[in-house]
Amino acid sequence: MMHMEESTRPKEILRSGHAACPGCGVALGMRMVLRALGNRAVVVVVPSCVAVISGPFPHAAAGVPMFHSAFEIAAPTAAGISRALALQGQEDIPVLAFAGDGGTFDIGLQSLSGAADRNEDIIYVCMDNEGYMNTGIQVSSATPQFTWTGTTPAGNTRRKKQIMEIMAAHRIPYAATASIAFPEDLTRKVLKAKELSGTRFFHILSPCITGWRIGEDMAVKMTKLSVETKLFPLYEIEDGLKYTINYQPDDLPVDRYLEVQGRYRHLTPEQTAKIQTEVDRNWQDLMGRAARAHAQDSFIR
């Protein structure tokens, strides 16, 4: 393990004593993102688990200025702060917004699209725990097909919305997936995003202990399996077209990921096979995009 001198040790921004459930994947992700971002930043949170984690009054879990804004406006709120800081000559202070999958894929999609269209100078981080977990466990458009939730007791009928493709379609400077099981990759990406300007988007799969029906020690393992089964590949998209796959998965069958989660306990072999087919199809598509970007890149050179 790498040794870090006291003087060079990353400063923790998210303090211990925050209000997340034990073993929460969202809290781990927030901690890693904030540590990479550093203490010279302004952070927006919106109703979701990220707001709960940030602490009730008068507590504040993070050592940076934060604003608990409304559900569907993480992006324009961050953009308003970013514009105002620029007007005050402080454009070097990054403004980052944390939102959940409901606040990103569903109710906040319009305002996120507007901000991305204007290429507002913000970093937007979607902590995706695949459902409305803060209000219990209800289906969102980030919930995968066949998943049990409180509002899909017989299993979700819809497929998960491809948020990365939607963001890429805005041709924003940078979009990346990241995982709490791959902290070096996540940190590198946040540092890279920090050096860029314009709208930068992160999609971080963040296991919910209660919503996924998994043990308190399972969050990191789940995200590791999500990557190794190609269900949640690690990649980045520059300027909406240049796809780069950052990690070659182990090619494990999706069953390895599904079988340990209570929310998939009811799956039939046919449903598991369907999920495998969908994962394979998405992976092929991603590889195609990356290969095409690479080919174009060498052509330009």
Binding site: V42, S54, F57, F67, A70, I73, P76, A84, D117
Partner: protein
């Protein structure tokens, strides 16, 4: 300098004169010319601020309030469906104590779809914690926007300047556009709290307990009470600087009147003409214009109307199932008054229909003749 301009143009002039740093907006008829005029000035570098062309009014208010909390002077303008869509964010802006200024151009709310003047859109925002100023003409529109920044930044509550569709927004009038120097003397550079200080990090708008919630609400209500004085004080300073006076209410001929007519906004101008005509015929008539709706000027109204027995309220809005909203508010302001009052509500100009001097005369004659008031409103039609 005198300019022959629309009310929308006048509002835009005020926004520029106030060195507004941040404008976020979305098009909606009949507000759009404000947005276009400010865009034009941004393009020729005379606006001096940053404009955000959002994808909705909801996002426009989200960006305005967060920019305001960061410490800059922020403005938006909207109408009708736009202010209705903003509703959630209006509560948010006042709860955060963000001194955003907004021009709301009164327009009918759908359904039925229409584009005409009707005050129900802004009055439906009554409980959002915004101050509301209703304008009678284009001059008052430009002056009220300039005042609104001073008031909002003193009280730390957002302020809505309300002008009626077409009658103000699109009608051209001679307007005295104040000198930049005078406006800068009246309205110094923005100096409001900067809530996102990296050297002193805090958490704005976290979750609170029941009693903490009550405390915050109490503080905001106290700010509204303080706003009553602030609006009058700013009005006096405005008069000293620009020579034009505006307060919470405006009154003429109330003392000894057999009937006092209560109006808001553009109906007031027409009422002035009608009253002057009828006074020549020997009728003793008073006029009270309610300019500020929130905070409601209860004390000023009590002072004027405590001893008045007959009151007629004429207004262009409706709370379905009750009556005109100003009439209800006026009745509640007088409920502890020692005097006996007969308050009759008249709905005139609903849907942007014409309110002409003849219609107001019919109202006055009806009110004078009336032995007792009806609890519900009387609907006035254009032709008798």
């Amino acid at each position: 300098m005198k300019k022959f301009i629309t009310g929308n143009h006048a509002v835009a002039e005020a926004v520029r004169l106030c060195r507004t740093q941040f404008v976020a907006a979305y098009p909606i008829t009949p507000q759009t010319p404000i947005y276009e005029k400010l865009s034009e000035w941004e393009a020729d570098h005379t606006l001096g601020g940053s404009m955000m062309r959002t994808e909705s009014e909801h996002s426009a208010m989200a960006a305005c309030l967060s920019a305001s909390l960061t410490g800059v002077r922020a403005f938006t303008a909207t109408s009708s469906q736009g202010v209705a869509l903003m509703h959630e964010m209006l509560h948010f802006a006042s709860g955060c104590r963000a001194p955003v200024v907004m021009a709301c151009v009164n327009r009918t709310l759908a359904v039925p779809w229409a584009f005409w003047s009707d005050q129900t859109d802004s009055l439906a925002q009554r409980d959002t914690g915004w101050m509301q100023i209703y304008c009678e003409d284009n001059q008052e529109a430009i002056d009220s926007v300039i005042q609104a920044f001073r008031i909002a930044e003193a009280v730390l509550l957002p302020c809505m300047v309300v002008l009626e569709a077409h009658f103000i927004s699109h009608f051209m009038e001679p307007v005295d556009v104040p000198d930049q120097e005078l406006v800068e003397k009246f309205l110094p550079p923005v100096n409001i709290p900067k809530r996102f200080d990296i050297n002193n990090p805090g958490f704005v708008a976290p979750v609170v307990t029941q009693s903490q919630y009550r405390t915050f609400r109490h503080l905001s209500h106290q700010a509204m009470e303080y706003a009553v004085n602030a609006i009058e004080e700013v009005g006096r300073e405005f008069e000293a600087t620009f020579g034009r006076s505006y307060g919470l209410v405006e009154a003429e001929g109330v003392e000894g009147a057999d009937l006092v007519v209560v109006t808001t906004a553009t109906i007031t101008s027409t009422a002035r003409v009608t009253l002057a005509r009828l006074r020549k015929k020997g009728l003793k008539l008073g006029l009270v214009k309610i300019r500020v709706f929130r905070p409601f000027p209860t004390k000023a109204i009590r002072t004027l109307l405590d001893d008045v027995s007959k009151i007629a309220v004429i207004e262009r809005n409706l709370s379905l199932g009750r009556e005109g909203i100003f009439c209800s508010e006026l009745k509640s302001a007088l409920v502890n008054s020692p005097g006996e009052h007969q308050v009759q509500g008249y709905l005139a100009g609903i849907g942007g229909t014409d309110v002409n001097p003849e219609l107001i005369e019919r109202i006055i004659l009806d009110a004078l003749d009336r032995k007792e008031a009806t609890d519900g409103p009387i609907w006035m039609m254009e032709e008798g």
